[in-house]
């Protein structure tokens, strides 16, 4: 599966978006903490976290005996750049063209 497909698939689920919201509020939570806020079995939460991790939206780090979950917004930023950045670039080059034109005629 392509990276972008994984990101869109991961985001296309309210529970997973809710998990990201929780991490956005406060990063670096354990599975137990995340589980306590959801009406779901531990296994269910683990499954959702795995999908988020595979998409790169959640990154885990070990801290002693604990596994902490962090929200990684970079894949969303890359999707943003893919469509938005092109237009800012065009805008910037249009301004540069305008400047050149003005300087030529001026």
């Amino acid at each position: 599966m392509h990276d972008d497909d994984r990101v869109f698939r991961a985001l296309a689920d309210p529970t997973r978006r809710h998990l990201l919201d929780r991490l956005h509020e406060r990063d670096g939570r354990t599975l137990t903490e995340l589980e306590s806020e959801l009406e779901m079995t531990r296994f269910g939460v683990m499954k959702h976290l795995k999908v988020l991790e595979d998409a790169g939206l959640v990154v885990t780090r070990r801290s002693g005996r604990e596994k902490l979950h962090f929200l990684n917004p970079v894949p969303i930023r890359l999707i943003h750049d893919r469509w938005i950045d092109k237009y800012t670039e065009r805008y910037v080059s249009a301004l540069a063209d305008l400047k050149t034109k003005l300087e030529e005629t001026g």
């Binding site: 990276d3 990063d27 670096g28 790169g56 990154v59 780090r61 902490l68 962090f70 990684n72 917004p73 970079v74 969303i76 930023r77 890359l78 750049d81 938005i84 950045d85 092109k86 800012t88 670039e89 805008y91 910037v92």
Partner: protein
């Protein structure tokens, strides 16, 4: 003044089609940082205990002040981090930034930036910036072009 515990950590991760050496250069050489790090120029000899600074590309103004805490090229770099351009941010204790570069099967790399021991104000300040910087670094290394924004 009350001393607050600065214990916020943020993690940013991206896969980049580049060698560890290329990524290391992009992190530690001013001609690269200028193209993806808000136009700033990094300045450091990378020896443990040496200053690790970011200056504005145009004015030479010192924007970020830090010190090299750990340097294992091209795999791991940890620096302390203090913003100087805003008094509220400068008043917080320095935080730590660690860059981890891990070579993956297939020749590309996983780059992880861990910003730890963050105070609340600095944490809020950097949360929007890191995704932009990290994705800009990827774009620069993979296409040779900086992001336009």
């Amino acid at each position: 003044m009350t001393t607050m515990t600065q214990n916020i950590t943020q993690v940013y991760q991206v896969y980049i089609q580049a060698t560890p050496e290329q990524i290391w250069e992009a992190l530690t050489r001013p001609e690269f940082t200028q193209r993806y790090f808000y136009g700033t120029r990094v300045e450091s000899d990378l020896a443990i205990g040496s200053p690790f600074l970011y200056r504005a590309g145009d004015s030479e103004e010192l924007l970020v002040e830090g010190e090299v805490l750990e340097s294992d090229p091209p795999k791991r770099l940890t620096v302390s981090w203090r913003f100087l351009y805003d008094p509220d941010l400068a008043a917080e204790e320095p935080s730590h930034v660690t860059w981890e570069i891990e070579l993956q099967d297939g020749g590309h790399c996983k780059l992880t930036a861990v910003h730890s021991e963050l105070g609340a104000k600095t944490a809020e300040h950097v949360a929007g910036g890191w995704p932009w910087i990290v994705s800009g670094l990827k774009t620069l290394l993979e296409t040779g072009k900086p992001l336009a924004g």
